[in-house]
């Protein structure tokens, strides 16, 4: 039951800085306009409102980016790389020339993180400003490469489109000679994502594990999971911190096949229709849960599910964090997250 808007606005205001409140509330306001009660989505207005940024081969804060389009599928990925220190390459980058022939390194391991942006499967793109900024930071943080996937979104493209796009990207990344690194000369791949992106990362990792494709680690930032049952966190936090339960329901209806329930295995990983991960070579996971996110009970169940399956998982529980805390570097949770992600990747790299 959503409380009155006035009370809830006051709640959220007390726990996030002004900038964050404005940013997330603005999204909430816009998104309310875009979702229609009949399940359709005002895609043109969404694209109009979304703030996008260009890629940039001129390094900013040591990271440059460029877009790659797969001719066959029209799928776009945005690649973020750390600018090399050598002056020759630096000069070339300044002139906009990127060498995509040589491996990242033949001696050191350079992590390649495939990132799936959030947006409840419906909103945002790889070139959305919030995600471009985040990926840029991530690349710099781990001194690696980030591949941000512009996956197909619902309701136009339902399950399993996003998962398939993720899977294709994983295979593509593994086959790039210019993403190789280390003495073992392979692509050191991690998967990461926030919200729906976290959900996609899980499913791609699952498929990878089943198919024998290597993924070194998963980072799930308040991933989107759910189920038919209403959990305590959903009841308690409904409408309190930017998100209403009915909105969550709308997005699941838009993503899952028509007529499906939230116990569909895409949504309810370890639920009645889920499959076990026991015995699978599933990557180690870092699962970040925001304590003020109404989805947290599902995320905690996910962590428990992984543990029960004998998989390696670390939980980072940020008690006072709301969704989207990582978009702006203006709160302690942001810095905690950065540190944890860095260590998580680093520990796989040594």
């Amino acid at each position: 039951m959503a409380g009155s808007n006035e009370i809830n606005a006051n709640e959220a205001k007390k726990v996030v800085p002004l900038h964050t409140w404005i940013l997330i509330s603005n999204f909430k306001l816009a998104y309310n306009m875009l979702r229609r009660p009949d399940g359709t989505f005002n895609r043109e207005l969404a694209e109009f409102l979304d703030r996008k940024v260009l890629a940039n081969t001129v390094p900013v804060d040591g990271v440059y980016s460029f877009d790659v389009v797969d001719r066959a599928t029209s799928l776009l990925n945005r690649i973020y790389r750390c600018a090399p220190r050598e002056s020759e390459s630096g000069r070339q980058l300044g002139a906009g020339i990127i060498e995509l022939e040589k491996p990242l390194s033949s001696t050191e391991i350079v992590p390649v993180i495939i990132f799936f942006h959030g947006g409840s499967f419906t909103h945002s793109s790889a070139n959305s400003a919030i995600y471009d900024t985040f990926c840029r930071r991530l690349a710099g943080l781990v001194h690696g490469v980030v591949v941000s996937v512009n996956y197909r979104r619902s309701p136009e493209h339902r399950f399993p489109s996003a998962y398939e796009d993720g899977w294709e990207t994983l295979k593509w990344v593994h086959s790039r000679s210019w993403l190789l690194s280390g003495k073992d000369s392979k692509v050191h791949v991690y998967l990461a994502g926030d919200s729906s992106g976290g959900n996609i990362a899980h499913h791609v990792a699952h498929r990878a594990a089943v198919s024998g494709v290597e993924v070194l680690g998963n980072i799930l930032l308040h991933p989107l999971f759910g189920g038919e049952e209403r959990t305590e966190s959903e009841r308690k936090l409904d409408g309190k911190y930017f998100v209403k339960l009915q909105d969550r329901d709308w997005y699941w209806r838009a993503f899952l096949p028509e007529g499906e329930t939230r116990d569909h295995p895409a949504c309810n990983i370890f639920g009645p229709r889920g499959s076990s991960l026991e015995g699978l070579n599933f990557p180690k996971s870092l699962v970040v849960v925001a304590g003020l996110d109404l989805v947290q009970d599902w995320q905690l169940s996910y962590v428990e599910g992984l543990q029960r399956s004998g998989q390696d998982v670390k939980l980072l529980f940020l008690k006072k964090a709301t969704i989207g805390f990582y978009f702006l570097p203006n709160n302690e949770h942001f810095y905690t997250l950065m540190e944890e992600m860095k260590n998580f990747i680093k520990s796989g790299v040594c």
């Binding site: 726990v15 900038h19 229609r36 043109e44 703030r51 890629a55 776009l76 906009g96 990127i98 210019w178």
Partner: protein, 562 residues
């Protein structure tokens, strides 16, 4: 992390073929320095940096005001799906400017002229990281505009309250490059670049041998890469051998023909016409007598659609006067009159009172306002599609033309230009910029007419091979001009939105924002256009851009006198 906005920027798209193990690919770009006045520094003092990084322009001093507006709107929209629908269906402008966007929504949705409750809780709450700037006094809502029945009231409120610090992304230097997985593709790009560099250094012997190599490599390529490379190699050869005239002067009839094929092949011109017409229609709303001056009449392809829209106007069409300007035809035929005649026939069938006049001018700078028989009871729109950049070839010309336009007191000036800087002082820079730009254009051509848009029958009209070929010739001539010509011969002096904004601002114009309705209809138009689902419409500071994937290629903007 601070994003330095005066930092040069290069945007690149590369393409990959689906075959696994496609190992080698390279991209090239050119160095870009933003020359000229940088509006960002001057007029964005006080813009909140954190939000700016995420694409929003909010003055630090307005932060609390913005928060209160959001809260107010949440209250209004929160429990009422009907209002949400109204908000969704109304026209939105310039979403980067949060303050005015929110304000216009409040105006749309607030049925009574009473000021809303002002919630001061932000002022009093202690936030964990207090980012409140010192704000003198209480944040007060600006006086509410009465809700007008016509929702286009939001356009006047948006442009009135939108800060005059019009600030498009100043780093809008975009580049796209084709990537070929074949080894020759990379070598080809490198050879072209090396050749351009040799030309810049006036090492013509080296340049000559490189251009020959490039020609040979180009032949072994396929698709768009081959065509682009061939065009650029040819242009380089012309420059090296100083073939004069560098580009043969085509009779206007032929240029028009080429452009018509380009019009059929890909949506750029259609988008240009469509979005400019949207702005003109809005400017003409409620007016009984209207006059359009078209700086580049050509075959008049823009005007039937506008005339039809005017004919369908509730309340009936205005009297429509069209003045078309064109270059001398060289063969003594007055093709302008022919075009005018055809439009007159159309006007008759749709019952629009129509008047046409053609002007032949070697340059727009030759025109004087007095020539146009401007009538005081008429509303004027001036329309320029790919015309203004040509004026940059002669010093003083653009200033003269803009000043003349100002004198004519138009209700609106619509400008469509290529979104690229092909006018830099440095030859190598221009070369690489244009290599990126035209590579993208050719790539989009390549996929047009293939029907991947999903509609049977090729959408609006099927694209023939001849259309495609002529479009390539059309673009090839532009490439030749950018690369091989100098001085007054080099007329393809494309500049970016940022640069045009500076020029127009200096000349005394301010932006009229194109809104979400134009955006939506342009998007739908593209969806109809078969072939290439890579086309994207983007909104940038009130202007609309059409691009291929993430690279904007042309920009439509609208202006009025400050």
């Amino acid at each position: 992390m601070k994003r330095n906005h005066s930092h040069p920027q290069k945007h690149i798209i590369t393409y990959s073929t689906p075959s696994p193990g496609a190992a080698t690919s390279s991209v090239t770009g050119g160095d870009v320095t933003e020359k000229g006045k940088n509006m960002w520094d001057e007029e964005d003092a006080g813009v909140d940096e954190l939000l700016a990084m995420l694409g929003y322009k909010v003055k630090s001093a307005d932060m609390v005001d913005v928060a209160q507006k959001i809260e107010h709107l949440e209250g209004v929209l929160g429990n009422d799906d009907g209002l949400s629908q109204i908000a969704s269906d109304s026209v939105h402008y310039n979403p980067s400017d949060l303050n005015s966007w929110l304000e216009s929504m409040i105006c749309e949705l607030n049925p009574s002229p009473e000021p809303p409750m002002i919630d001061d809780s932000f002022m009093n709450a202690t936030l964990p990281d207090s980012e409140l700037q010192a704000i003198a006094g209480n944040a007060i809502y600006p006086p509410l505009k009465k809700l007008k029945p016509n929702c286009s009231s939001s356009s006047s409120s948006a442009s009135a309250s939108a800060s005059s610090s019009y600030n498009p992304n100043p780093n809008n230097q975009n580049q796209v490059v084709l990537v070929d997985s074949q080894e020759n593709g990379i070598r080809l790009v490198h050879t072209l670049m090396a050749c351009a560099e040799a030309v810049q250094q006036e090492n013509f012997q080296l340049a000559e041998s490189l251009v020959k190599q490039a020609g040979l490599l180009a032949v072994s390529q396929a698709g768009a890469m081959r065509k682009v490379a061939t065009c650029f190699a040819e242009a380089l050869a012309r420059r090296i051998y100083r073939l004069s005239p560098q580009t043969p002067q085509d009779p206007p009839a032929f240029s028009d023909l080429l452009q018509m094929h380009f019009y059929e092949t890909c949506p750029y011109l259609k988008f240009a016409h469509f979005t400019a017409n949207q702005a003109i229609l809005e400017a003409f709303a409620g007016k009984k007598k209207v006059h359009v001056i078209d700086f580049g009449m050509k075959q008049g392809m823009q005007w039937p659609a506008l005339m039809q829209a005017l004919a369908l106007r509730p309340g009936g069409p205005p009297t429509f006067r069209l003045t078309g300007i064109g270059p001398p035809s060289g063969d003594n035929t007055d093709h302008l009159q022919e075009v005018g005649w055809k439009l007159a026939q159309l006007a008759e069938t749709i019952h629009v009172k129509f008047e046409f006049r053609g002007f032949i001018a070697g340059s727009l700078a030759d025109l004087e306002p007095a020539m146009f028989d401007l009538r005081t009871d008429e509303v004027l729109a001036v329309n320029s599609v790919f015309e203004l950049h040509q004026l940059l070839a002669r010093p003083g010309a653009i200033e003269k033309v803009l000043s003349a336009v100002k004198e004519m007191k138009p209700e609106i000036l619509t400008v469509v230009e290529q979104e690229a800087n092909h006018n830099g002082l440095n030859f190598l820079e221009r070369f690489t910029e244009s290599l990126h730009y035209y590579s993208t254009l050719f790539d989009s051509l390549e996929s047009s007419g293939t029907g991947s848009g999903g509609l049977d029958g090729g959408g609006i009209s099927p694209v023939t091979n001849q259309d495609k070929f002529m479009s390539e010739v059309y673009l090839g001539k532009q490439i030749c001009n950018v690369v091989a010509c100098e001085g007054t011969d080099r007329v393809e002096r494309h500049e970016t939105l940022t640069q045009w904004n500076n020029r127009l601002d200096s000349a005394g114009f301010e932006a009229v924002h194109l809104g979400s309705n134009a955006f939506k209809q342009a998007s739908m138009l593209l969806a109809l256009f078969a072939g290439g689902d890579g086309y994207r419409v983007e909104e940038d500071n009130g202007c609309l851009m059409l691009g291929w994937h993430t690279r904007p290629l042309i920009t439509t903007s609208a202006w009025k006198i400050q």
